[in-house]
């Protein structure tokens, strides 16, 4: 048994507990110092992750492979960029910042275990560790009614959806008599022909994971939670929670349920179409930028599901590239929202008018993030969409690709609307907006990564391809 596979998770977990104890014992708190301390822990775990070898522990309960490590990098990067962008928000609006950062780290620990879960029990427990931390984070500003309300909505719908997911897991266990994913895949492969119970279980899985991914028709919670939760939490939630849903969804469906692919492919396709249409159309009507980004994230997950319903190795590769590009573009956009609302106290898209006059650099980086979310060439979003739709075309899913491209055109309107308001509307006041250096750092990292993926995609493609090698299509 090679326990060194667990070092990144253990480092994060211990770091989170130290933060919690420090927060409980310190008389006065220094939010900046606490934020930097959390950042060091996350970066340390990220560095250690590069040296973790392949292997598995406890009878395939914990698997360390290229796929799991690729996703762990995504989770850690999301947390690192979020923490960099959140230090100023936390020192302005929050009490108990130690608890805040320690919850983010516990959530990432849960997601990292989820990426490595090779068995139903550990998959469920890791999923719950990450989502329960997120419930608390969403309701973190307890003096703020919106934040509390977001927490309650997220909790009720989240708990109900994990109940549905669990019912599906129990049926799968009954069908195959095993909780190990590889073993389930093998036994389903031997059972020629599928039963009604398997179809029932698949519907439950799609509903349960659809909630975590915020894919329509299971998206009702997303706009309210995105709007009400503290903005750094929204930034983290919009990327990491989606990636966490995808990591478990893909491992379960491509590893265990590949033998019954004809049964689930139709359901995934329907969810993909609904997510793209609902997300892109309703986003047109939004006036609050956090709500607009919530609907945009619903649409983006639809594009991933288009690629996943192809069910080939390019699907996994393109999903990894997409998540990386989406991570930096989306968290970057939320850091702009944090900077703007710290300066002006508003989240309305109308109030962004004249941002070009008040802070040109902020308007330019926001434009780059929006272009990446649309998928304009030279940005990461273009490369991601190119491979996502490429995977679907390779399998001949032309209807899906046509719908995806048409809805992408619709998305152009609401993303470019933000750019139009920032660039061409007169500013309501001539006050300049000052940017603290941590926010500048977060914005700079995201812009560089978005452009790097767009201009030089080779290494990122290779990284994504490495992750897809563990599946046997």
């Amino acid at each position: 048994m090679d326990y060194s596979l667990l070092i990144p998770e253990v480092v994060l977990f211990v770091w989170a507990l130290v933060l919690l104890l420090y927060n409980a014992s310190a008389k006065t708190e220094n939010p900046r110092a606490i934020g930097l301390f959390a950042l060091i822990g996350l970066v340390a775990a990220f560095v250690i992750l590069w040296f973790v070898p392949d292997g598995s522990l406890f009878g395939k309960t914990f698997i360390s492979d290229t796929y799991a490590r690729g996703f762990k990098m995504i989770f850690l990067l999301a947390a690192i960029v979020t923490v960099i962008g959140s230090v100023d928000f936390a020192s302005k609006h929050m009490k108990h910042t130690g608890e805040f950062y320690s919850l983010i780290m516990l959530c990432v620990t849960g997601m990292m275990f989820l990426a490595s879960a090779g068995e139903l029990i550990s998959l469920y427990v890791a999923l719950e560790l990450s989502t329960i931390s997120l419930y608390i984070l969403a309701a973190f500003l307890k003096k703020d009614l919106k934040s509390t309300e977001a927490g309650l909505k997220y909790l009720i719908l989240g708990a109900a959806s994990s109940g549905i997911l669990l019912y599906g897991l129990s049926l799968l266990y009954g069908l195959t008599g095993s909780t190990v994913l590889d073993e389930i895949g093998y036994r389903l492969f031997l059972n020629e022909g599928t039963t009604i119970a398997a179809v029932f279980a698949i519907v439950m899985f799609v509903a349960g994971f659809g909630f975590k991914l915020a894919a329509a028709p299971f998206h009702m919670w997303a706009p309210d939670v995105y709007e009400g939760a503290p903005t750094p939490v929204t930034a983290f939630l919009s990327v990491a929670s989606k990636a966490a849903g995808l990591v478990a969804f893909v491992r379960l469906f491509f590893n265990s349920l590949l033998a019954i692919k004809p049964e689930w492919v139709v359901i995934v396709e329907i969810v993909a179409i609904l997510a793209m249409v609902v997300g892109n159309v309703v986003a047109l009507l939004q006036k609050n930028i956090k709500r607009m980004l919530a609907y945009s994230s619903i649409a983006q997950v639809g594009y991933v599901l288009v690629a996943l319903s192809a069910g080939i190795d390019l699907s996994v590769t393109s999903m990894m590239i997409f998540l990386l590009a989406y991570l930096f573009a989306n968290i970057g956009a939320f850091i702009v929202v944090i900077a703007f609302s710290n300066a002006t106290g508003s989240d309305n898209i109308e109030d962004y008018s004249g941002l070009w006059k008040r802070k040109p650099s902020l308007a330019i980086v926001m434009t780059i993030y929006m272009l990446s979310l649309v998928g304009i060439p030279l940005t990461g979003g273009f490369i991601a969409k190119y491979f996502l739709f490429g995977a679907a075309v390779k399998e001949g899913l032309y209807t899906l690709v046509v719908i995806a491209i048409l809805t992408s055109v619709i998305s152009l309107f609401y993303y470019m609307n933000v750019v139009r308001i920032m660039m061409f509307r007169p500013a309501p006041s001539a006050d300049k907006i000052a940017l603290p250096w941590m926010i500048k750092l977060g914005l700079a990292i995201s812009v560089i990564m978005v452009l790097l993926i767009g201009i030089w995609p080779g290494p990122f493609y290779a990284w994504g391809q490495l992750a897809s090698t563990i599946f046997h299509f």
């Binding site: 029990i121 719950e128 329960i132 309701a139 509390t148 909505k153 129990s170 009954g174």
Partner: protein
Amino acid sequence: MAPLANYLVLAAILFALGVWGVLRNRNALIIFMCIELMLNAVNLTFMGFSAYLNDYSGQVFVFLIMAVAAAEVAVGLAIIVSIFRHKENVNVDEINVMKW
């Protein structure tokens, strides 16, 4: 042991009752009780399969579901208390500051 189908049918009925309760009730506390009912229906399914298959991992799963459900309820009650401090009320129809 009674036939497996008895356990599965009872669990399915309990699960459906739980889902119906979550959708229909307006009081956040009762919604929580209905979610617990759903989880217990899942536990019953696992126990039935575990006894039928003579395999212990289903029973281990049940213990972990109970532990996680307890954690979820602890967080849930804390959030309900903090909603109550704002509203003096836990009716989900009145929790509507945000709408599209």
